[in-house]
């Protein structure tokens, strides 16, 4: 009985896995085809010519794709700096210090993740327009940081909570100042978790569309906006190549995320 059931079941498992693999990779494969298609006419199944002509256009030093990539990376770096500069002290305080209204503060840091962001972006754009921040890198960084900050605070707080507090106490008993303790013990031990939150914030900013769409116009064109404009303009090659550029960091992070976010830190998120 067991052996007669085994083969059909194995076959079924393999078939289901193959279908699932198609569901995951089929769309990505279609994107790859478009990125290298020189000519692709309806209704042929595959492009009639492959080539790099569109890649040369995208990577043309005077083209706007490289400029957008530069803008995107610069905005993401600034967003990480701003977010972590305020999230590290906040996370430390939430994890280690006695705080009045601690759960209320944690909830407040949760709200931006639990509420649709469209009304926020729309009205920030309106205010920024009046004070001249619309269409500036500063404006976009502020919007990205306000959103990235939330994740950063939660992960930073979890990372600090996962560091054994008795190490700190031992150093304090030996006469170290709180600042020395933080700098030489707690911060280095929490570093992998903080690194993870930095990467999260970086990726969120790099991929962000809606906020930039409202606040960045007309002068700040990040890579997602460039991709969107190319796609809506019907230029699928440029859109697909730009999409591939955006995929590289996303997939790279997906492959290494567990190295930075250990289970002990994950278990402390939201505590």
């Amino acid at each position: 009985m067991a052996t007669s059931l085994r083969w059909p079941r194995l076959l079924l498992t393999a078939l289901l896995l193959a279908l699932f693999a198609f569901a995951i990779f089929g769309p990505l494969a279609n994107l790859l085809l478009w990125a290298f298609a020189e000519k692709w006419y309806f209704p042929s199944k595959l492009p009639s010519e492959f080539g790099f002509a569109f890649w040369r256009r995208v990577f043309n030093p005077r083209g706007n794709a490289l400029a957008s990539l530069g803008t995107s990376v610069w905005i993401a770096v600034l967003t990480v700096v701003v977010s972590l500069a305020v999230a590290i002290p906040a996370g430390y305080a939430l994890a280690r210090l006695r705080l009045p209204w601690r759960s209320a503060i944690l909830l407040l840091f949760l709200l931006p993740q639990a509420v649709p962001n469209l009304p926020i972006y729309v009205n920030i754009a309106r205010v920024f327009y009046e004070v001249g921040l619309n269409g500036t890198v500063t404006g976009v960084v502020l919007v990205h940081a306000a959103h990235g900050l939330v994740l950063a605070v939660w992960i930073a707080s979890a990372a600090f909570a996962a560091v054994d507090a008795s190490l700190d106490e031992a150093a304090r008993n030996l006469g170290a100042t709180p600042w020395t303790c933080f700098r030489t013990i707690t911060l280095p031990l929490a570093a992998p978790g903080l690194m993870a939150s930095a990467i999260f914030v970086f990726l969120e900013s790099l991929d962000e569309f809606t906020g930039t769409y409202f606040v960045g116009v007309p002068d700040v064109t990040t890579l997602p906006l460039l991709m969107f404009n190319a796609s809506m303009g019907g230029n699928y090659q440029i859109a697909s190549i730009t999409a591939l550029l955006l995929l590289v960091p996303s997939i790279g992070f997906m492959l290494v995320v567990e190295r930075f976010l250990k289970a002990d830190v994950l278990a402390m998120v939201g505590r």
Binding site: L10, T13, A14, L17, F20, A21, A23, I24, G26, P27, L31, L33, W34, K45, A85, V86, P89, A90, Y92, A93, L94, L97, R98, I105, L107, L111, P112, A114, V115, P116, L118, P119, I120, Y121, V122, N123, R126, L142, V143, A146, L149, V150, L203, D207, T210, P224, M227, F228, S231, M232, A239, S240, A243, L247, S250, I251, F253, M254, G270, R271
Partner: protein, 272 residues
Amino acid sequence: MAGLALVAPALAIVVAFFIVPLGISFALAFRGKDGRFTLEHFAKAFDLYTTDLVFTLAIVLLASALIAIVAIAIAGYLTLGENPRAVAVLRWLYRWPLFIPFVVTGQVMRTFLAKNGMLNHVLIGAGLLEPLAAQSLLDWRGIVVAFVWKQAPFVTLLVAGAMASLERGHIEAARNLGAPRWRVLWDIVLPQVRGTVLVGIVLSFVTMLSVLSVPLMINPNSPTMITVDVAYRINTHSDYAVANALCLLSLLVAASGAWFYLRHAARSAETG
């Protein structure tokens, strides 16, 4: 007090760039030309966009349900699967879309689900579809597919993590008593991870409600999602009043979901 000083800068940013704009949204949605309280913007919003409100709600609910089913099925197999190789392959496969941005998902699906896209070609090639019957899926179906493709891995990650930390003893005991795997999943595993499933679904629900790029790229024409209408009211008419009324309506929908979420988070913060 030192603690508050350390939290203050982060709080200030959240208040300035989140709470204040939210307040402005309320003010603009309820304020008439004469500065007095009015509901006329909501009346206009319902007048013009009732179909789109229903369309949005239907799409997001359908996508949430499908995400829950897919996530529970994958996480369940990862937990209860008996073929270690199949489990390893599935674990490697499912997370690819995890960090892919929505705007890229929109572009990917725009080509994949088109009339001349890869999905139709493969179905025709496999003999499952007549070439003349091929149609574009770039309407409400495309939005749902894009949402599920992008969000299901996220919920799966959460749910699989919760399932992995369960007591294996109960599962083994039930299996030894001869319970089939789907019964173990339904009767023993699922009740214990209900909270995690709920949190994942509510987070996805709220996220999908505020995604602009996917509906804009896949299905920009009426009926469409509320986010597209908001962008249209602002970019074409500079009509912040009706745009904010629409925003608040989708906020109301999200709030019902977020209420579940916050209640669960508050409860686990107390017990944790």
